[in-house]
């Protein structure tokens, strides 16, 4: 199917943002808004988002991807994924204006953009779907746990690790020190527990990132496709979080939630095969409901 690409300047508060609309000739009523995560701009690492948008547009799905304020070509001061409410709202309003045939949309986000998408989704009824890739739930403790389990375990099982140990090239001092630090974080001792108890008295406004995401998930009524990479600590940390919480498990076991795991893939899906699997997984899922 033919599609055109349109370069847009979008106004958001007192700044201009820049984006690309990939618009099929005959367009579906469900569009995709790609939100950028991590230190990237709208084309994504190794152009993943550009190529994904072209894939979706080629089968009739309109796509908007843009740089939020402070990122890429867009004006304004840099901001974090926790501060994207207005940017997402401005982009969505413009998307509906540019494509009158739209009735609902899916937000697609990788890493912290997945977290931002989840925060925003329950506030806008037009958002009927979320594609969340390797969602970012980073806390020091969770990161350490994921690191311990997946990094050290993988190394201990790796013959190369043992060859190094035997040939005397393994730096015990460094490794032990970093292991101790990691364990301290993963298994908070009395000191840490006492400190967090104190903070607990006034904790309402300072809910942790995983708690706020859980809250956002419980308010959201649309569908979700969760895509995870096997070779990615961010994804492992998220999956550990889910494993450790009945509430997360209950919400993700809902019939509206689908999952796709790429066991070999890294955080940014940096091979054509992985990128294509994500693109096809995304379009199949969007067209399945």
């Amino acid at each position: 199917m033919n599609f055109e690409e349109r370069a847009l300047a979008l106004q958001c508060n007192d700044s201009w943002m820049y984006g690309i609309l990939s618009l099929p000739e005959r367009t579906a009523s469900r569009g995709v808004l790609i939100v950028v995560g991590g230190p990237q701009y709208r084309v994504g690492s190794h152009r993943q988002f550009t190529l994904l948008a072209r894939h979706l547009a080629s089968i009739g799905i309109p796509v908007l991807r843009f740089d939020y304020r402070g990122m890429g070509d867009s004006e304004g001061a840099p901001r974090t994924f926790e501060d994207l409410e207005d940017d997402l709202h401005c982009a969505i309003e413009r998307f509906f204006k540019e494509v009158p045939a739209l009735s609902n949309l899916v937000i697609w986000g990788l890493c912290d953009a997945a977290s931002a998408a989840l925060f925003h989704a329950h506030r806008d009824r037009r958002i009927t779907g979320l594609v969340l890739l390797n969602p970012w739930v980073r806390t020091d403790q969770g990161a350490a746990k994921a690191y311990l389990k997946h990094y050290y375990l993988a190394r201990i099982l790796d013959p190369e690790f043992w060859r190094k140990v035997w040939s005397g090239r393994f730096n015990y001092a460094n490794a032990t020190q970093s292991l101790v630090k990691t364990v301290e974080k993963a298994l908070p001792g009395r000191k840490i527990a006492a400190a967090s108890d104190k903070a607990g008295d006034r904790s309402c406004d300072f809910a942790s990132l995983p708690e706020r995401m859980l809250d956002a998930l419980s308010r959201y009524k649309g569908k979700i496709l969760l895509i995870t990479s096997g070779d990615d600590l961010t994804a492992q940390e998220f999956l550990e979080l889910v494993k450790s919480s009945r509430e997360w498990q209950r919400l993700l076991a809902a019939p509206g939630v689908s999952r796709l795991n790429l066991p070999e893939a890294n955080h940014t899906f940096s091979r054509r095969a992985w990128r294509d699997e994500v693109a096809v997984g995304t379009s199949d899922w969007i067209q399945s409901w």
Binding site: E5, A7, L8, A9, W16, Y18, I20, P39, Q40, Y41, R42, V43, S45, H46, R47, Q48, T50, G70, M71, G72, D73, S74, E75, G76, A77, P78, D158, E160, F161, R169, N266, T268, F269, S270, R271, R272, R275
Partner: protein, 285 residues
């Protein structure tokens, strides 16, 4: 800083060119101002382009606020432009710059300069050497010194994924050699998400900054160093000497900053933006 440089919005558009379209972003001076000049921005290679996007935007806005137009163009197979990266070639990229040049020439009657970052700096120099157009000046940000070592470092991104911890020195060398051999045999190679075509690899491999002499306009070289007082690399200093001996009108400035094209998070270097904008401020005095 942002409000200081705030001007009319840049105009994003697609420019028709060989094999499709190129995404362009044009920054104009404030409404009612006369153009003091225009620049074409030549972006770096691979994800270095993504990482430096913010700095390119900051610099372009600073230029626009000072009365200069800036045309940013995504080369074929890069950014939002048509094509796959694996089908790009050095010569298509040079012709893209020619297309950008014509677009500017048709619209603005002001001297045109080139501004290139990293590998884009070498592309700008190579374009300047083969073009008959009158180039006002050339601005280089951290030019790549040797295409060969640049390519080796790029290939190592693939090795890093392949070799656990990547410490064995000999393995590294045979690794990139083996990759070069595969490329020479005509096989494309996927590196860090980019498909590297044999022709592209060969073109980069033979690039030497020292040989890309441009003597018909001033060349302003900005080199980022880790801290004040640090000197540039020995390899860079050699190029500076070679250029000066061969009559290049070279102006070198060292700016202490993070290497924003390669940092993990997006880094800004306002010092570099101010120093670069100053070139033209001096011209006006």
């Amino acid at each position: 800083m942002n409000s200081f440089f705030h001007v009319a919005p840049a105009t994003p558009f697609f420019l028709k060119a060989e094999l499709g379209e190129r995404f362009c972003l044009f920054y104009a001076p404030p409404p009612g101002w006369e153009y003091r000049g225009v620049l074409i921005y030549v972006h770096p290679f691979g994800d270095e382009m993504n990482k430096s996007r913010r700095m390119a935007a900051m610099q372009a806005r600073a230029f626009a606020a000072a009365g200069f137009g800036v045309l940013q163009i995504d080369l074929f197979g890069c950014g939002d432009s048509s094509g796959e990266f694996g089908n790009a070639s050095w010569n298509i990229w040079k012709r893209d710059l020619a297309a950008a040049w014509s677009w500017l020439e048709d619209r603005v009657a002001a001297p045109i300069s080139l501004w290139g970052l990293r590998l884009g700096a070498l592309l700008a120099l190579d374009f300047a050497r083969s073009s008959e157009n009158a180039i006002d000046r050339i601005i280089l940000w951290q030019p790549v010194i040797s295409g060969e070592s640049f390519l080796t470092r790029f290939l190592r991104l693939r090795l890093a994924n392949e070799i656990l911890l990547g410490e064995a020195g000999t393995e590294k060398n045979t690794g990139t050699n083996a990759m070069r051999n595969a490329l020479r045999a005509g096989n494309p190679l996927e590196v860090a998400g980019y498909e590297l075509a044999p022709d592209m690899a060969a073109a980069i491999d033979i690039l030497q900054a020292a040989e890309l002499l441009v003597t018909r306009c001033p060349v302003h070289w900005f080199e980022v160093v880790a801290e004040p007082g640090r000197s540039m690399t020995a390899a860079g200093a050699k190029v500076v000497t070679a250029w000066k001996q061969n009559g290049v009108d070279l102006h070198l400035q060292l700016v202490p900053c993070l290497p924003f094209w390669a940092t993990q998070e997006i880094a800004e270097c306002p010092e570099l933006v101010l120093a670069t904008a100053d070139i033209f401020a001096e011209q006006a005095r």
